[in-house]
Amino acid sequence: MQTPVRPLNLAQARDPDFQAAVARDSGQHLASCYQCGNCTAGCSYTPDYDFPVHQVMRLVQLGLKESALSCRSIWLCATCQACTTRCPNNIDVARVMDVLRHMARQAGYAPEPGVKTFTDSFLASVAKHGRVFEVGLAAVFAIKSGKPLQDAGLGLPMLTHGKLSLTPHEPEGNGKAEVAAIFARFDRVAAQKARAHSPGETPGNGKKGGGE
């Protein structure tokens, strides 16, 4: 969290395009949030967040794009739906978090590189095999995340309980190819969108990638 030395100039800091994009992609009426804090109160991840959920909502309400997209919280949300379930204003808060994460991804933020690596590895596994190959995913993640030994201890119990499947269970028919095609089309569409939307957009200093 940065400590502002000067008062925040609300008029200058507000990014109306960002607000409109979040509202559009999430389908949520962000002005409905009255900052009661119910989302924060019920969120299992609040202790790990840099901005508690209600403050993330506040950042969006004020159109503070940079702060909203660079925060760690949006990467640590597990979509457990507690916030959405309990919001007194019927806001799908988890969906807003999702949309912010999409935007942060597109803009190149990754303050929680492990989470991003896990997601990427998971989807890469799906793209490759048509289904998630758990052991392969674990191995890939172990290498890419730089924490090769974290889950090494799980190997033995998995082996002894017959959970260590060393070959992927791929779909028997066209499924694998179809899934690969979905990913290929998605990458194409994403690239088109990236070109169309923000050719020169780069995130703020030190926000891109970054280690833990």
Binding site: R24, D25, G27, S44, Y45, P47, D48, L76, A78, T79, C80, Q81, A82, T85, D92, A94, D98, V99, H102, R105, E112, G114, V115, T117, F118, T119, F122, L123, V126, G130, R131, V132, F133, E134, V135, A138, F141, D151, G153, L154, P157, M158, H161, G162, K163, S165, H169, P171, G173, N174, G175, K176, E178, V179, A181, I182, F183, R185, F186, V189
Partner: protein, 349 residues
Amino acid sequence: MSAAPSNPLTLAYYPGCSQTGTAAEYDRSSRACCAALGVELVDVPDWTCCGSTPAHTVDHFLAGALAARNLLQAELAGHDRVTTPCPSCLAALRTASHHLAEAPAENGAPQDSGPNYRAEVERLLDRPAPLRATAVSVLQVLTEDVGVEAIASAVTRPLTGLRVAPYYGCIMNRPPGLMQFDDPENPTAMDRVLEACGATVVDYPFKTECCGAAFGMPRLDIMQRLSARLLDMAASCGVDAIVVACPLCQMNLDLRRGQVNAFSHSQGGTHHAMPVPYFTQLLGLALGLPESGLGLDKLVLPLGPALTAARAREDERIARTQAELAAKAARKNGTSANGNGSKENTPCA
């Protein structure tokens, strides 16, 4: 494609990726229970990954396409209802069918000036998205289609004396508008199934609290903290087992127990050894299905000691009751030997 099902309780079955690997026992026991209770499952032909949580954190249309492909496969095989044991798969499939239903197939204008969900999903799928098919959990099928009474009457080896904490996980019932099943704050479907199995179900306060989900790999510390909380609460409820309905919860609480216990130790907390069976495994036991078909051997923390302890407690209780009864034999004759519930009964075999 398959002809119209003769059994009214025939559903398409979507196992989900975990059920081919770390959660094979969930798949096996779900199939076994469904078969025993007259639910015919037909695998979604050539099913692929639903996208799960990672897909929707990247893009809603990608997630939609990955899920919709499976709904389409089921629909083409003549099924409008797909059942899956896994809540993550369930959420992915239901999210897709929900949004597809919101945006009708006619090439109408995008809603709320936002992108047209169906059109975007079809762009990625490169074929028409499914029209009707949606997903329900195996738990919902068992409680609503089969019914708890039918389950109770099919129980042959009640789990009398076994104290269990039903743990539903976060997304089996949430958000309520999407899941349309049970109570989002205090779900009871699994409670009722387990009670029908003869187990003693405690009022577990953390039924829907998050276990740390998929953070076991990227942020082990978070998963450890959250799962330890669940175990502490279950232990303070004095249960023999936490019963789950989600492969991710099961993995965090069972396979990763060593990691969670290590965290607990570092916090001065307790070591927990309670097993974490799937509700379908306990149901299978109560239905008298062979243990080999339920994958009990795949649980890292063995269920056996819990069953033995429960049985011993129950034996002792019965002996005590009988002694008391003998004393009052003149006035009263016999106890209600009802088959189910946490009442006096024969211990599970």
